[in-house]
Symmetry: C2
Subunit: 137 residues, 2 copies
DNA sequence: GAATCACATGCAACAGTATTGCAAAGTTAT
DNA sequence: ATAACTTTGCAATACTGTTGCATGTGATTC
C-alpha cells in the first residue's frame, strides 16, 4: 500500500515503520514546512517525542531539511529527491506573517555570498517574511 | 560619567536609567549580537525579566535589532547611529558554529530578492553559518 | 517639603518548544 | 524460541521567553 513511501525511505537508508510512513505522508501532503506541533496536530494519539525522533532521523538521513524561520518553532520540509542538503540545495524560505505558514522557495537558490576575510561559509538560513499568495488582499 | 551613553539613549527617546546604561554598555562593548542569557551572564544579580524588558524597550525605540540565528536564542545587537531598522538597514548575520558567536556583517546589506508572484516582502533574516576569524585553524 | 504620579525594577510564576531516561513493544537475526 | 537491537510511548525535565503583581525610584505638583 505505502510502497512508494517505503521506497523513498529506503533510498535514504531509513527503515520504514508505520510511524515514519505517516510522518512522511504528512510532510509530503502539506507541501510546506511544518513544525513539530503542526505535525502532531495531524494525528490523533501520537507521542510528540516519537515524532521528534522521527524527524531527527529523517534529518540525519537527509530526507528532510529544517528551517528556523523565527516563528519560535523549527519547521521541517521534505527535500527534493536529488537533494543532498549540500550548499547547492539551499534555498530561500518564506514565512507568512498572517497565516504563519512557511513556504520552501525551492526554485530560488540562495546566491553566493562574498564573506569578509576570515569567515568561512558552511551553511545558510535565509528567511523572508511577508504575506503569501493565500493572504493577499 | 556615562554621559555618552545617556545621550545615545535620549536620542532614541529612552529614559536613561542605571539598568539601561549597563545593558547598553554590554552591547556596545561586545561588538556582536548577544542573547538574553549571555547578557544576563555579564551581571551579578540582575533579573532576567528586567533585561528582557530593557531589550524590548530598546528594540521598540530602534536602538537595537534582533536576530534569530537558529541557535535557539534570539540575539540582540546595537544598531548603527543612523539605522532606522528599515529594509535598507538589513544586513547579513554570521553565526560561528564553533564559538557560537553571532556577528553583524553591517557592511553587507542583503540583496534585493525577486519573489514569485503573490509573495510580498516585508522583512528578512539572512543568517550564514560557518567558522569566524577567531576560530580558524 | 510632602503628596502624588508615572515608570522601572525585582520576584515569582507560567507557557511553549525542545529534549532525554527509561521501560515496554516490536522487529530481526540466530 | 531466544537473544540482540530498534522503535515507540510515557514521564519528566531543561531552556528560553513572557507576564502579573508588588515594591522601589525619580519626577511633578501642590
Amino acid at each position: 500500500m505505502s510502497n512508494e513511501i517505503d521506497k523513498k525511505l529506503e533510498q535514504k537508508n531509513i527503515k520504514p515503520t508505520a510511524m515514519r510512513e505517516l510522518v512522511y505522508e504528512v510532510l509530503d501532503k502539506n507541501k510546506k514546512a511544518l513544525s513539530l506541533y503542526e505535525i502532531e496536530q495531524q494525528f490523533e494519539n501520537v507521542e510528540r517525542s516519537t515524532i521528534f525522533r522521527t524527524l531527527k532521523t529523517f534529518q540525519d538521513k537527509l530526507l528532510i531539511h529544517s528551517v528556523d524561520d523565527g516563528s519560535g518553532a523549527v519547521k521541517y520540509a521534505l527535500c527534493d529527491d536529488d537533494c543532498t542538503c549540500s550548499l547547492d540545495d539551499l534555498h530561500y524560505h518564506f514565512l507568512c506573517t498572517k497565516c504563519g505558514q512557511t513556504h520552501c522557495l525551492k526554485n530560488m537558490p540562495i546566491p553566493k555570498v562574498d564573506l569578509p576575510e576570515g569567515f568561512n561559509f558552511e551553511n545558510a538560513n535565509f528567511v523572508i517574511k511577508g504575506t503569501c499568495p493565500n493572504c493577499q488582499g
